[in-house]
């Protein structure tokens, strides 16, 4: 029975008992237990991509009217293992002129950066690596190590395309960190804590109800942080061949690959923890293992959305990418923080007896107001831009070329609509 209510605690006590009886001093036992915990979470993180890669290939294949891998094992489940073996026995090439040490550290660091995030992710109310009281900030901190890994890989490869990929990395990842941190602040504000577990416990009503705008910004910027389509400018096969990992072969490439897939799933997991109630669900307090199931289901829902985006959207242009960030997401996330903070404080001050649903409802109204304002402002800007564009077209294009200009016209208008802040 104890195992059902507190599985980790039960195992930890059992092991402590065993080791102490074997004659180990208490501090050493603690270190050993911590090491075992690290190994379990790290192994989980490294085995997960084997499944994720298969899952993603099958989903994308289905969206593109193909079958996808279905030969090795049941429904192709063992395909990734076969691929991993292939990667392991490939020749390991280090390009001439590469910076050997940095070149070899980069793929390891990229996996570490993603895996370290899982240290603070709560699987259930008493199953987590560590409950840091600065958990949200910790996520940002280790996330920035991933940026570093990509830069190191791009720089050390002694390849111009790889270096271009590294430049783009800085432009993209460092920029999108700003709105990501700002949108992370909103659940922290609402939960009054940076600890991931407390944030989950504070979600009597999921934060996606109280803060849909922050959830949207967090999700979009996280996808950009992973560097996936539509934000895959770092590797952009059609432009810079493969970007930062162009020179990597075998398992070193495999590590970048694993890091990317694990990071994509981590985006789903973090969205679940911060905005979808994490492990919360009926009966999760009594049976933590049920909480783990809820958490994994929610994380996969987020991951599924990431896959759908990848399969559905084309790559965003680099100037659009930066405009979207600095002219749209950053101001919007700043406004969202102010709206949520003021509304929440006002509710607390003037209507303390409202209950969690009432509070969430008022916050939702504030968010909808902000969304409406945003749409009005963006629509006005787009209209003005389009008028200016038409005026330019009328003046600058001689009548003979009008045909050609018209061919361009609708396309331009369409781009302006899709990325309102971005057209010119």
């Amino acid at each position: 029975m104890e195992f059902l209510t507190d599985p980790v605690g039960a195992i930890a006590r059992l092991l402590t008992d065993l080791l102490t009886r074997a004659g180990m001093p208490a501090p050493v036992v603690n270190v050993v237990l911590a090491a075992i915990g690290v190994v379990i979470i790290a192994t989980f993180c490294l085995l997960l991509p084997l499944f994720l890669i298969w899952f993603e290939r099958r989903v994308v294949a289905r969206m593109q009217d193909r079958v996808g891998p279905n030969r090795v094992g049941w429904q192709g489940l063992l395909q990734t293992i076969a691929d991993a073996i292939k990667l392991l026995i490939k020749e390991d090439i280090t390009p001439i002129g590469a910076d050997v040490v940095v070149y070899n550290i980069a793929p390891i660091l990229s996996v570490i950066a993603v895996m370290a995030m899982w240290a603070v992710v709560p699987f259930a109310h008493n199953i987590f690596g560590v409950d840091l009281n600065v958990g949200a900030l910790y996520i940002v901190a280790v996330g920035s190590l991933g940026t570093l890994a990509i830069m190191m890989g791009g720089w050390s490869s002694n390849n111009k395309y790889a270096l271009l990929g590294a430049f783009r990395t800085v432009a993209q990842l460092v920029s999108y960190e700003a709105p990501m941190i700002l949108s992370l602040l909103v659940p922290v504000l609402l939960a009054r804590s940076m600890s991931m577990n407390t944030i989950v416990q504070a979600q009597d009503v999921w934060f996606i109800v109280s803060a849909p705008i922050a959830a949207f910004i967090f999700f979009v910027t996280s996808v950009a942080e992973v560097g996936r389509t539509p934000f895959d400018l770092l590797e952009a096969e059609s432009e810079i061949v493969a970007g930062f990992h162009i020179e990597y072969t075998g398992m070193k490439f495999g590590m970048f690959f694993v890091a990317e897939f694990l990071h994509a799933f981590t985006v789903g997991a973090l969205t679940a923890v911060l905005f979808l109630g994490g492990w919360r669900g009926p009966g999760a307090e009594q049976a933590p293992l049920l909480g783990v199931v809820y958490f994994i289901v929610k994380a996969f829902a987020g991951y599924f959305l990431v896959i759908l985006l990848r399969a559905a959207l084309p790559r965003i242009r680099i100037d659009h990418m930066l405009d979207l960030n600095w002219k749209f997401l950053v101001p919007l996330s700043l406004a969202a923080i102010v709206f949520v903070a003021v509304t929440d404080k006002a509710v607390q001050q003037y209507a303390p007896g409202l209950g969690s649903w009432g509070r969430a409802g008022i916050l939702l109204l504030a968010n909808l107001l902000l969304a409406w304002l945003t749409f009005r402002i963006v629509a006005g800007m787009v209209r003005r831009m389009r008028q200016a564009e038409h005026r330019n077209l009328d003046h600058s294009v001689p009548p003979a070329d009008r045909e050609g200009a018209h061919g361009h016209g609708p396309e331009h208008a369409h781009t302006a609509e899709a990325h309102p802040a971005a057209a010119h």
Binding site: D99, V140, A141, F167
Partner: protein
């Protein structure tokens, strides 16, 4: 020795070694990467002192922002693949002197406050240290004025940076 002491010794050794490499490396990017190792080691020291917030902020700001910008600047401005310029200029002794003076000054000022004790026991850290830190920044009786002055200074620096970098119209 407790495990904590072993970690402290390892982290300090890494900080010192990588700090030395920062100033002796011939390759600028290597120096910058070594600086990151140094900063990370300092973050570990913060974590050992149970200042988790400072440890994480150290990584976010110094590694996530400053060090990456340093590397980016090096990549953009120098011949990145083969640069191996001189490591010192004529003022190296002045830098060393200032560093030594700073170290001595800190030692003189801090040694009566934190006497070196053989037990190595840490003072108890309040449970809600992050909340206390946050509140003391906006408390008029504590640090609100330095905090606001620093904010204004940063704002001015940011506007200045935009003015310097922006296009002349």
């Amino acid at each position: 020795m407790t495990p904590l002491q072993i970690i402290f010794l390892l982290a300090s050794a890494v900080v010192l070694a990588s700090g030395l490499y920062v100033v002796t490396a011939r390759n600028l990017v290597h120096a910058a990467l070594s600086l990151i190792v140094t900063l990370f080691g300092v973050a570990i020291l913060f974590a050992i002192l149970e200042a988790g917030f400072l440890a994480v902020v150290q990584v976010v700001l110094y590694i996530g922002a400053i060090a990456i910008l340093i590397i980016f600047a090096i990549m953009l401005t120098r011949r990145v693949m083969q640069d191996a310029g001189p490591q010192t200029n004529r003022q190296w002794w002045l830098g060393a002197l200032i560093a030594l003076a700073l170290f001595a000054g800190l030692g003189v000022v801090l040694s009566p406050v934190f006497p070196i004790s053989a037990s190595g026991a840490l003072a108890a850290v309040p449970e809600q240290s992050v909340e206390l830190l946050g509140k003391s920044f906006v408390d008029p009786n504590q640090y609100v004025i330095p905090f606001e002055v620093a904010s204004v200074l940063l704002l001015v620096a940011m506007i200045g940076a935009i003015m310097v970098a922006g296009e002349q119209k």
